[in-house]
Amino acid sequence: MATAAYPTRRGFFTRPRSTTGKWSWFFTVDHKKIGIMYCVTAFIFFIVGGLEALAIRSQLAQPNGEILNAEVYNQFFTMHGLTMIFLVVMPMGVGLMNYLVPLLIGARDVAFPRLNAFSYWVFLFGGIFLYSSFFLGGAPDGGWFGYAPLNETLPGHGMTFYALGLQILGVASLAGAVNFIITIINMRAPGMTLLRMPVFVWMTLVTAFLLLFAMPIIAVALFELMFDRAFQATFFDPTQGGDPLLWQHLFWLFGHPEVYIMILPAMGIVSDVLPTFSGKPIFGYNAIVFAGAAIGFMGWGVWAHHMFTTGLGPVANSAFALSTMFIAVPTGVKIFNWIGTMWGGSLRFTTPMLFSIGFIAMFIIGGLSGVTHSIAPHDAQQQDTYYVVAHFHYVLFGGAIFGLFSGFYYWWPKAFGKLLSEKLGKVHFWLMFLGFNLTFGPFHVLGLNGMPRRIYTYVEGMGWDFMNLLSTIGAFVIALSALVFIANVVITRRRGEEAGADPWDARTLEWSTTSPPPEYNFEEIPIVRHRDDFWHRKYIETPEGEPARVLAGGAVATHEHEAGHGIHMPSPSYFPIVAATGLPLLGYGVIYFNSTGKALLVLGALVTMMGLFGWVLEPGAEERV
């Protein structure tokens, strides 16, 4: 055992031992617990961001709204965007990756369990740091895109919180990205070749690579902003020769891959849910995997379509118009393959299936409106109007959020051993589907009717009143649907149907272990012989090409009496949370760069260094008592 390499000591470097109870969550390194914490935290932020959206929609329900003033409105729309992107869609995807990737590839944990815990705590503290700005003089109010030079001329600490908050969240993303890349490359069960991996694992890999290369770019932009705001640098100050377009290039060079970082995990979920409920293997596995990778590559060559109105010149505009059009091709391939997966199947319309179908239906709309953005001369009409707002909500809500909910309903029984109520689930789906279209459908019309984004008010007589009212009603329907989901969770907790190991007759490895899986995931590391290996253990193909159930095939091994005996898992650790605690302290130190701030900087650096020090020196595992 590798533990033999470390002397086991008591004292400062002792690892906590308990893996149950309230406190175990703070020090856990179990990818499943961390995954659950990610999803729960992200869901709480989803509610917060949703409340901001409700306030925004209430303000805009009628012309000359009186609910929010310009100041608060600007903070709300900025924080709504930041929350939904960095604190909801990304971490929800990461949460599912955390829970599932090791299970899907037949591993006992991720490659770096403590780094994984560190990612989570940094994400949580980064989110809290960002939200603390509301109580410290005002939240960021320059938009999630924070264009220069407005991002440095806005008064107060808001945009400094933006620069540092996103920086902290970036640390979490980067650590997570490295972890997932290594896990997927190196931790696969025997026989789990790359082209046998479930599509969700592939999409996780592509996403992780996008994060790996996109995060440093935004880090640089944010550092430059931070030095401008806090230390009198002049990166984006046009009066000193600074170029506001530099910010835009850096931001969108990160920002466009970011879009795929948000959507690819959802695409992966859908690609795993559809085969299960169609009773068929995925249609065109290779094509769907390569399309995902192609999107990942091409995503680096389209950023300037966010800048069609900045005067880049006809050559650049043409080039980016073309690249933007052609990224629609791999996207289209995916849609056709999903429909091909259902074609000829025997479709069971469970809640996860409904959300996946909703994803496809809405993503088609978002994809098509995306193509209309690529015609650069008309994009000059669409840019910064509600038409764009409609587009990205169809992609990120109709797409990503629907996909994530599909994943929640699908894997809930695996994580908690109980099925969510199908009845409430369907109510949730239809309410959300209706509310979503009611909210964001009218945005297309509003945008084409000339309503710009990011305006806190509008006057009567522009022709915008009715559609805005409709949209506001839709927003409250979405809120209602979220309440139904919460009710579903609460009710299931009390009296849910026992799931068993494989409630959906599914295809992939995670269903071959118990629900919930033991800490070590699998009694024995599976030997993989096929894509959809678990399915092939349950069914053989008859000579007529039809599946036939194997007697006792795929039975889940539950050696209750000696479960887990002899399997060494890494012990919990104090240090990830300690090291993570230092980062927000550093953030506050920069924001309040006086004597207190400098003290905070020193304290933050010390705490982080102490955490890392202990991290390196603690033993690999503590003997279980």
């Binding site: 055992m1 590798a2 390499a5 470390y6 002397p7 591993a107 006992r108 944990d109 991720v110 490659a111 770096f112 980067l174 990205a177 490295v178 890349i181 290594i182 490359i185 190196n186 931790m187 696969r188 789990m192 790996l212 290369f213 996109a214 995060m215 440093p216 770019i217 880090a219 640089v220 932009a221 550092f223 430059e224 030095f227 401008d228 230390f231 009198q232 640098a233 002049t234 990166f235 100050d237 000193q240 020769g241 600074g242 170029d243 530099l246 850096l250 070590y520 024995e524 590391i525 005996h565 002899g566 399997i567 060494h568 898992m569 890494p570 020090f613 390196v616 020196l617 690999g620 595992a621």
Partner: protein
Amino acid sequence: MSTHEVASAPVAEHHTSTGLDNTKLAMWAFLGSECLFFGSFITTYLLYRNRVLDGPTPHEIYDIPFTSVSSFILLMSSLTMVLALAAIQRGDHKTMRVWLACTALLGMAFIGGQVYEFTTFVEEGLKISTSVFGSSFFVLTGFHGAHVTVGIFMLLALVGMSMSGRLGDRHEGARKVELIGLYWHFVDIVWIVIFTVIYLIPTN
């Protein structure tokens, strides 16, 4: 039960799908990310180096002989790093510690040179707030200096671990030294790029 022992992958450093060590692969991935990080700062610098509305220009302020010497010192530290790794691969902890300490000292000399350079520049009127050239120069080279500093801490930690016997056996120790070595060489290579781009390419 023996299968269980072998398969408990997360703590076992061997038995990976590719046969490559997890931490080494992770370091490569991280360094890939770092390329984009420095690349973006270098791009910023290239955009801004000729935009001096106020204060000294690059041409006026750079002391190329001085920086060449400190660059040479940093490059030499890569050599001592290689020697440290060779020592631990032979199982020779003592020699390794000497070479690691040398590497750290050379790194410190480089940082000392940078501190001197920054101080001189500030005295000559180039501050972070003077011009976009000043901002991009200080932040780019400053972040590189921060990377070197982190590297020095890691080298000293290796020395400390070796002295207290925590570095592990020959194989495990070599793995750790190689890991830090990767980082250290990367930081050196980045400096070669920065030195070329910042100091050697003439400005107009």
